[in-house]
Symmetry: C2
Subunit: 211 residues, 2 copies
């Protein structure tokens, strides 16, 4: 089985290499976008941060807007996956919503999620904007529908599912701006506490809601 390893890479290995390089470029880019903003980030600098030159970036990612677009898609996919994962769970809707929200928040605290939140639509061309709006709408719809299920099964109390979705999303997107992993509590714990605030509200409850 364990033969002398060939110094030649198979087609599959090369394809994996390529993917890894592409992802490394995306990671370098997203970090720079997050620290400097999209317009203030030059592809020269992104490339240099990995010890290569700009045409290499173009080789793997086409053009600057596409670099951003792929980063955003990647982040949005993580958010959507969180939704489908929560959807597959058992329990009342409020519980499924909670577990979705906690993962949603953690994604927003990570590099690609941060980029999704921090990048305003205007940074993109009309075309790409439509694509992204579609994905964002999907995520919003998932959240809203979990809320609606909760209204139906009685585990969630609210007047307007759509507006509640905006309320929750806002509160849980914001860590993309303020959360600093290197100080304070770890991401999961912070995420959980934020969601608890939203679940309970800030007005005192006379008695526990689960009799």
């Amino acid at each position: 089985m364990a033969q002398t390893p060939s110094p030649f890479r198979t087609a599959e290995q090369r394809s994996r290499d390529r993917q890894a390089k592409k992802l490394a470029l995306m990671e370098a880019a997203v970090r720079m976008f997050n620290t400097r903003g999209f317009h203030a980030s030059s592809l020269d600098d992104v490339a240099a941060s990995l010890g290569v030159t700009k045409p290499t970036v173009y080789h793997y990612l086409g053009n600057k807007e596409n670099v951003l677009l792929e980063c955003l898609r990647f982040g949005l996919k993580q958010l959507l996956d969180a939704a489908t994962h929560a959807r597959a769970q058992t329990g009342v809707a409020a519980e499924r919503l909670r577990s979705f929200l906690i993962v949603y928040t953690q994604v927003n605290m990570s590099d690609f999620g941060r980029c999704v939140i921090r990048t305003p639509d205007e940074a993109l061309s009309e075309e790409s904007r439509e694509v992204l709006r579609g994905l964002k709408r999907q995520i919003h719809a998932e959240m809203r529908s979990l809320i609606a299920e909760g209204q139906a099964d009685g585990s969630i109390a609210c007047e307007d599912a759509n507006l509640l979705a905006f309320t929750l999303a806002g509160a849980l997107n914001w860590p993309a701006r303020w959360y600093d992993e290197s100080r304070g509590h770890p991401p999961e714990e912070t995420a959980r506490r934020l969601v608890d605030n939203l679940a309970a509200g800030f007005l005192p409850r006379s008695r526990p809601s689960n009799p």
Copy 2:
């Protein structure tokens, strides 16, 4: 009293004129920043939108960064004013907090408030960033201290006043991104409903919290 009006303006009138022009430039700028983003907005275009030229902008506002800075200060002042106004009211802390939050949200739905929320720190120089961080911290501190008062007088239930302030701020900053005055409910109503969501939480309450 009502004499033939002099065609000559007094010093005071001229000073008011100057202020008005400066403000008009700031409004034009802030609207462009909000629609295109800071880096994608050229002062040539800002000036052109009022039928003047770029050096005019420099005459009134110095340089591009200062244009942004003045807009942000303006918006932040509105937020701080909302806090001091709420502070002066009577009633339990939860009530004062509510009324602060509602105004806070409405500011974030208006041009200058939008700009405060949508402009990420990185757009500015280290210097200006410090100034703004200071102002933002003030607002955050106001919110946190209203919450702490509520913990003390029993009108607010929460474990961590600081984290609750982030939760509320996030939810109520977000309308700067999604709210569209031209569709849906008017600003005050939307603001009130958002705050209600946060006050009540999404878990059902067995009975009203005000016995």
